[in-house]
């Protein structure tokens, strides 16, 4: 029996190489505490979905180990499946069944008894504001309602650990906020939530900790606040009056007190200084530049965001989407995951 104090999710040196030779994960290790909301962030093709699919037992790692609720995902997959809920990137609802039927069938296949499954169905329809859609076929619902139904399905059997792969994609802002409220409520009740998202602002607000994945490797793990602190808690963007002053301005700002990092920027871009405290550093910036006789057209100050952290560690160039061959092999692997090592 796994100890209660053990992490809800543990990954040790996870490596995944697809049959075509594509390395999706190059040795990823992390641990998620029970009751935590843990965000997995990364550019397209960084390996987030592969990691999630290994943790939910849809894929087997080429090397390394993963445990969920103390159970090994490769050797004790059947035990892992009893304690997890999962909503993937695709909305996995049955279009020909009504919302109620979708939820009830999910309850049955997770071992709920007949009456209990229908009771839970009614409860979740209320919680996810789907009561009016209970008798409507899922295929006739809007994209947002279908996504909500998909998430409700993941919660039918009250899982200990909930995996969500980009859960807010396709939701309007109201639905996104409602979802985050629900996830925070689940977390308070002890459910561990592991999610991937492209909405960094939301991850910043809702996640207890985040991990940043790039090129199949984990580049940072921490609380949003600590990661922002690392890149500089504040951000000062200096727009120069004369483009020719950029090299001198960069040199002058190098001696700014509290400076964490300086980005000289390109033509017509501002010089950006990441500092510990933007408000305290604003006056010295003006002073240093004035002393050099450099004209400032504008000075914008802001607190560093998770976007800054993300771009700092993953670069600012767009990534190619995974190839079709990769997607096909992923589907194949899902269907035949048990045969893979």
């Amino acid at each position: 029996m796994p100890a209660q104090a053990a992490p809800a999710i543990e990954a040790e040196d996870l490596v995944k190489v697809y049959p075509g030779g594509e390395t999706a994960l190059g040795g990823v290790s992390f641990a998620v505490r029970r009751g935590e909301i843990f965000g997995f962030l990364g550019p397209n093709g960084s390996g987030k979905t592969t990691a999630v699919r290994i943790l939910v037992t849809l894929l087997r790692a080429t090397r390394g180990a993963a445990r969920v609720a103390g159970f090994d995902t490769a050797r004790e997959a059947h035990r892992v499946r009893r304690v997890i809920g999962y909503a993937g990137q695709s909305v996995g609802v049955d279009d020909d069944l009504t919302s109620s039927e979708n939820l009830a069938v999910t309850g049955f296949i997770h071992g709920l008894r007949h009456d209990e499954s229908w009771r839970r169905t009614a409860e979740l329809l209320e919680v996810f504001s789907l009561a009016d859609a209970g008798n409507i076929r899922a295929g006739r619902l809007s994209g947002g309602l279908r996504r909500r139904l998909d998430l409700a399905q993941a919660l039918v059997h009250r899982p200990e650990v909930l995996f969500l792969d980009e859960p807010t994609t396709g939701l309007d802002p109201q639905s996104r906020n409602a979802l985050w409220d629900q996830l925070r409520g689940l977390s308070r009740d002890g459910t561990t939530v592991f999610l991937t998202t492209q909405y960094l602002e939301e991850a910043d607000r809702a996640c207890d900790r985040v991990a940043i994945l790039d090129g199949g490797r984990l580049v940072r793990v921490g609380t949003p606040a600590s990661l922002k602190e690392e890149v500089g808690g504040g951000r000062l963007a200096v727009t120069l009056r004369d483009e020719a002053d950029r090299p001198r301005a960069t040199r002058a700002l190098g001696s700014l007190p509290g400076l964490v990092r300086l980005e000289p920027g390109g033509a017509s871009e501002p010089v950006v200084a990441y500092v510990r405290d933007a408000r305290a550093s604003a006056a010295p910036v003006v002073g240093l530049l004035s002393a050099e006789g450099i004209g400032v057209a504008a000075l914008d100050q802001a607190q560093a965001s998770l976007d800054d952290v993300f771009l700092r560690y993953t670069g600012d160039r767009p990534r190619a989407e995974p190839s079709l061959a990769g997607a096909v092999s992923s589907v194949f692997a899902a269907a035949h995951g048990r045969r893979r090592r």
Binding site: G88, L97, E101, F108, I109
Partner: protein, 133 residues
Amino acid sequence: MSRDVKVNAAVALGARNLLRNLRTPMLVAASLAQPVIWLVLFSQIFRALAGTAAFQRLGYQSYLAFFVPGMVVLSMLFTALQSGMATVTDIGSGMMDKLLISPIRRSAILAGRVAADAITMLARPRSSSAWRC
């Protein structure tokens, strides 16, 4: 009335697959009409074959008696094709992922599919039998 019983996963999935079949009107119509159309078309076109000496040497009393078993097999193949397409749809929509990470046996997924298809297949020859009567 309370029905606080455990629902077998294969039964639940079978019922789900059958509901899907029934709620696709085009599929239901095609399933029922196709054997009848084949019977009408082929029996009318090749009826004259039954009178040939070569055909009678095979031992068949009529062209229909010769054709019906083949048509039943074709109907089964058509149902199997539909079943395969439904499985591909499940994989594409993410439904299969949900089934694969649920604690049910893999055999229950297959059993649910086979049960629904068996019922669908049974309905087909009946529609052609009704035409023959």
